[in-house]
Amino acid sequence: MNNLAILLKKLIRNSAGHARYTVAVTGLSIAVFLLLAAVQIQVNYKELLHGKKNQDSIANFLVINKILTDANMGNTALEDTVINDIKKQSFVQSVGLLTPGRFKASIQSNSDRFPFYTDISFESIPKEFIDVSGTDWTWNEAAPYVPIIIPNMFLDFYNFQFSLSQDLPQLTPEIVKMIVFKVTVYGPKGTASFNGKIAGFSDRISSMLVPSEFMDWGNRNFASEDLKNPSRLIIRTRDPGNPALSNYLRKHQLTTDTEKTRFSKYRKAVDTVVAISGITGALMLLFALLVFTLFIQLTIASCKEEINLLIILGTAPRQLSRFLIMRFFPANVWMIAASFVTLTVLQYLMSLYLESRHIFVSGIISLYTLGTAILLVLLIWWVNRKTIRDYIYPRS
């Protein structure tokens, strides 16, 4: 502190009392902590939702269909109006229709050593919704085989239940992909047979998928009934936990894999915590700023005569403002820094705790939180400066 500041400190005393000042500083600290915590919680939640470590391939794709009830049994097709309405929703990034096969089909083994036969049905979806990469996902009549994607759970079911009970060998995905089997489709005009191969395994859709070219060809030539609207569709969404999505599905009697929308419950809880913390923090900040403003006003008012004489003797209002800002502002900066450090430590400890439960959030505080802290510093500096200037300059 320079000599001038020492002399000014003797003249301009803090008349508000240390106890009240401490209470105000504590209040402002808590307010800042709550606001920063609200920002950090929101960032953590976003990271949980969209972070690469946490996200799996199914998280952002939802297959939607009507809830099957006694009333709509046999009529679960999604009307065009419903489909168009879904496309318009803000939480929907894109929509793909699941085209069902309207023909009978079967697959059977070409090998006597490993015999199997089963009736099946196929579905197809637009290529961009497929989660199997590295596959030539197309078909034409001259193609050597029909590529098929099956749900991962089918292979799990075979390997860990069926093969054990039937004394059959377990099969790795690579072996399954090498097996060539016979695909037969049936229709009013007769039958057609092709070679089929498993092209990959999907976590996303729980049905047997074929390329849309094969589906279109089959439906054109072997369909036993007229074209109907699809009963299921797949949507890509940025946030499956969005409560608006859950609410929309519930309202329109639609359903999806509830496991995928489980985040919506957490999201509501997080939103509530963020809202409570944010609003409480903002209100406390408002009151704390008001109290600090009053402190400054009180200090200036109680030293009115000294300040007047200082100005008469030639002290520039700029010098007085600078002194008063240096008197009040550093405490605020320290307090924000303390809140920030506390939050940083808590974030680190929380990341360690969550990591032990295979939930990954950054151990470092987010740039948004840092930015908010800087904004708060600037806001408090501005309020301090404005109050001081408003009360000093009219005296000069």
Partner: protein
């Protein structure tokens, strides 16, 4: 250069109308480095004039130009700069901070701007004026005579082009007045500064270049 241009203080307008004055309602010019004596009986506006020149009051007609600038038009920070570097003052009512020591009162004025002299100069001047012993006493327990000498030192530790004094020796005896005059003259010469002194009676304390009567 200091120009007083047709000055007439609003509160004294009626009282001064019809009276002859070599300051009120006249245009007078003080060149840099001039030493001016203004005499007037009590209640004729000496302190008012001093306050007008120091820009403490603005309730007057006419204008005061300091180096071509109307001091009434100065913004607050610019006015502070004038008081720190161009015009120093000794108030009639002293205007000391009672709780600060005599030394602190002087030191405050020395360091408000880039110091003109070092801190040791305070002690030197105090010794010269016979107030060195009371430098570390709160100003409020000093006698009027001591306080007036503290005010004189306070006015002399800053840079200035003009020293304005309002009855600066009213609490001093003749011997102390002569010592103070000597110190003031020395510091003004050091700065090639002018001075304006107001008092009740005429005197020959300084080699005045102009003598005016309010």
């Amino acid at each position: 250069m200091l120009i007083l241009n047709n000055l007439m203080p609003d509160p004294l307008r009626e009282r001064l109308s019809g009276k002859t004055s070599s300051v009120w309602n006249r245009s007078i010019q003080f060149e840099a480095g001039e030493w001016i004596k203004i005499t007037a009986p009590s209640g004729t506006g000496k302190t008012t004039l001093v306050h007008m020149i120091y820009a403490l009051r603005k309730d007057y007609t006419g204008n005061i130009l300091l180096n071509q600038t109307d001091i009434r038009s100065l913004a607050t920070n610019s006015l502070a700069s004038v008081r720190q570097r161009q015009i120093s003052i000794i108030f009639q009512d002293l205007k000391l901070f009672p709780h600060l020591t005599a030394r602190e009162n002087i030191e405050l004025k020395r360091i408000l701007q880039e110091p003109f002299c070092d801190a040791a100069q305070i002690t030197k001047m105090a010794e010269q004026l016979g107030v060195a012993e009371i430098l570390d006493q709160p100003a409020q327990i000093c006698s009027y005579g001591e306080q007036q000498r503290i005010c004189i030192i306070r006015a002399l530790v800053q840079p200035f082009e003009w020293l304005i004094m309002d009855e600066p020796f009213s609490h001093l005896d003749i011997a102390n007045t002569k010592i103070a005059v000597s110190l003031i003259a020395q510091e003004c010469r050091k700065r090639k500064a002018g001075l304006v002194i107001t008092d009740l009676d005429d005197d020959v304390l300084f080699p005045y270049t102009q003598k005016l009567h309010l």
